[in-house]
């Protein structure tokens, strides 16, 4: 169990700086997920914590001691790799036992711990097999077993589920979450899949180009994104962004919709974010009224996604739970409550000073 603190961490490969001056506090026993688009430096950051990649600048503290120059073992970490990285020439049992053997544990102790890990992960019947004779999900369990057997202070996962098929990914997701509840070690998990991040994390760290865009609980990030990047990245399907123009105390939106607005220092051009699930088909309900032309209906059983565009061509995707009978080509009015709208400046920063008001009654 340990708290992990990153202080002004940076990483360069030659001239290329991939992590810049990054500071982060990871609570003891938390499940923290690093999420971000491909190439943003998630793996690099994790590998620096693991001790696989030298740290260019800053301090890494694990459990209160500076760990920059410690070996992975001395850091008390264990890591699960994306490609499992099981030793192909060893049986499952030997794979799991390897780190204990390296640490010089006795035979009986090793056997006891391996059996315990196998029990937790339900891989007892696989212990005699070679990795080549396992399914993807079984391999991943073995890889996790190899990590938990050492009872490390910090678990590191680098996209451990991305090689599994969709169904297995969902079940492994909840298994890892349960494992965390059971073991209560600090876990750091890297993924580019926001759904994984949302469902598993206590805290999400959104990264972009080697910087932290925002940290917070899944709910905080979803409801109160710090900028358009986080708003667009968290939540599925993606948030819609509508161009809006501020003139005086009014906001003009595509298709002639208007809203009142108040706030100082507003830019002329801004964008309004609407989550697909916040929009309500129909004319009932107050707030923002818009109309879209439906181009595609995605039926998902309990719900459906309506793809289309607004009058000015802005792409729009809304979720409709109870709007049967809508077909491509239809013009569909919908509303969105004002408190569900998020405003962003052209550079992506959240416009917190802006407050939206219902449209002023038309003055004829």
């Amino acid at each position: 169990m340990a708290r992990v603190t990153l202080r002004n961490i940076s990483k360069s490969y030659g001239q290329l700086e991939v992590i810049r001056d990054l500071s982060l506090d990871i609570e003891d026993g938390s499940f923290t997920v690093f999420v971000g688009p491909s190439g943003c430096g998630k793996s690099t950051l994790l590998r620096m914590i693991a001790g696989l990649e030298p740290i260019t600048g800053g301090d890494l503290m694990i459990g209160g001691t500076r760990a920059n120059d410690l070996d992975p073992v001395a850091r008390g970490i264990a890591m699960v790799f994306q490609n499992y990285a099981l030793y192909p020439h060893m049986t499952v049992e030997k794979n799991i036992a390897f780190s204990l053997k390296m640490a010089g544990y006795g035979r009986a102790e090793i056997a006891r711990r391996v059996a315990e890990a196998a029990e937790v992960l339900q891989i007892g019947h696989l212990l005699g097999r070679r990795p080549a004779n396992l399914s993807g999900g079984q391999r991943q369990r073995v890889a996790i077993g190899r990590a938990i057997v050492r009872d490390p202070a910090v678990f590191l996962f680098d996209e451990p589920l991305s090689n599994l098929d969709a169904e297995l990914r969902v079940s492994m997701r909840s298994e890892i979450a349960q494992l965390h509840q059971r073991l209560t070690n600090t876990m750091i998990y890297v993924t580019h899949d926001q759904t994984e991040a949302m469902t598993m994390a206590d805290r999400i760290v959104v990264l972009r180009e080697g910087r932290i865009e925002q940290t917070g609980t899944p709910q905080e990030l979803y409801e109160d994104p710090a900028n358009a990047f986080v708003a667009g990245f968290i939540g599925s399907p993606r948030m819609n962004f509508l161009p809006a123009r501020a003139s005086g105390s009014a906001l003009e939106l595509p298709g002639g919709a208007r809203l009142g607005c108040a706030g100082d220092g507003l830019p002329r051009e801004l964008s309004l974010g609407i989550r697909p699930e916040a929009a309500r088909p129909g004319r009932e309900g107050g707030g923002l009224r818009l109309e879209m032309e439906v181009a595609l209906v995605e039926y998902l059983g309990g719900t459906r996604y309506l793809h289309g565009h607004l009058a000015d061509g802005t792409a729009m995707l809304i979720e409709a739970r109870s709007a049967a009978g809508i077909r491509p080509g239809d013009r569909l009015p919908f509303t969105c409550p004002l408190e569900a709208l998020r405003a962003f400046a052209p550079d992506g920063a959240r416009l917190r000073s802006l407050s939206l008001l219902p449209a002023e009654p038309e003055t004829a």
């Binding site: 890591m79 790799f81 490609n83 499992y84 990285a85 099981l86 192909p88 090689n163």
Partner: protein, 273 residues
């Protein structure tokens, strides 16, 4: 996908194969005939009388058995040394960071383009000054040293495809670089190491120049064969017998291990590639 080739290809390849075998048959028949019969041509089997005379004579008049033992000894030592040290060197060059790594690697690999003949004279002078002429080390050192050029290269190029995560996983598991080499890398290098071993075995076994110059007694079969051939007697039949003895061992080695030689070269950490 196995496809049955057209018949004419089989016939053509068969014919070419037969052509290749003819000299072998010739050598075998020559070794079984008298010099007079050979003078008429080994293929004139009509009035040839077969005899094991050449085989017994070559065995008694020349120390073939000692040479065979000498060949086995030299080749085995050189092969084992290459099998052990070339992978270690390749591993160090590939995974460890040390000063002059690149420079040293280029130096080692460049021996590839260096013909053996170039090193022989300076090496001869060196061995003479060190009093090593006639010592097996005088041959084994260049055997192993010259093999590094291709052996290190071969194993290193295999390591290029070796999953980096396995090395990293071993590091996470608390295994040091030497332990990682012996416990993780070596067990997965069976096919390139066998390839090295086979090539090195064949090369050492067939090598003539180095042992001829650096050894006095205890010469290997190739040198003995050259000595037999150097006689002025009409002894083609004995030469043939000695040649068969010389060629027999590498042939067996190749046939026995050709599977490893052609084996697939993939190690996987278990992920979908």
């Amino acid at each position: 996908m196995p496809v049955t080739p057209p018949k004419w290809i089989i016939a053509l390849v068969g014919a070419i194969g037969l052509l290749w075998i003819v000299p072998l048959i010739g050598v075998a028949l020559t070794s079984l005939q008298t010099p007079e019969a050979i003078a008429r041509g080994w293929w004139n089997l009509g009035n040839a009388d077969f005899t094991l005379d050449a085989w017994t004579r070559v065995w008694t008049e020349y120390p073939i058995a000692a040479s065979l033992w000498s060949s086995v000894k030299l080749t085995a030592i050189a092969t084992v040394l290459t099998m052990l040290t070339a992978p270690a060197a390749a591993y160090a060059f590939h995974y460890l960071r040390f000063p002059l790594r690149r420079g040293t690697l280029i130096l080692v690999i460049n021996a590839f383009v260096l013909p053996q003949q170039v090193v022989i004279i300076p090496l001869f002078q060196l061995w003479r000054d060190m009093g090593l002429i006639g010592n097996v080390a005088a041959v084994i050192v260049p055997y192993v040293g010259l093999s590094y050029a291709w052996a290190v290269f071969l194993v290193k190029s295999f390591l290029e495809d070796f999953p980096k995560e396995l090395i990293e996983a071993a590091r996470i598991d608390g295994c040091g670089p030497v332990g990682t080499f012996f416990r993780i890398v070596l067990p997965n290098l069976v096919s390139p190491i066998s390839a090295c071993a086979i090539l090195q075995f064949l090369w050492c076994w067939n090598s003539l120049l180095l042992p001829m110059l650096f050894l006095r007694e205890d010469v290997p079969l190739t040198v003995m064969l050259a000595r037999i051939a150097g006689q002025y007697d009409p002894n083609v039949n004995m030469q043939s017998a000695a040649a068969i003895v010389t060629a027999f061992v590498p042939l067996c080695v190749f046939i026995l291990f050709q599977k490893q030689f052609a084996a697939g070269n993939q190690v996987s950490g278990g992920g979908k590639e």
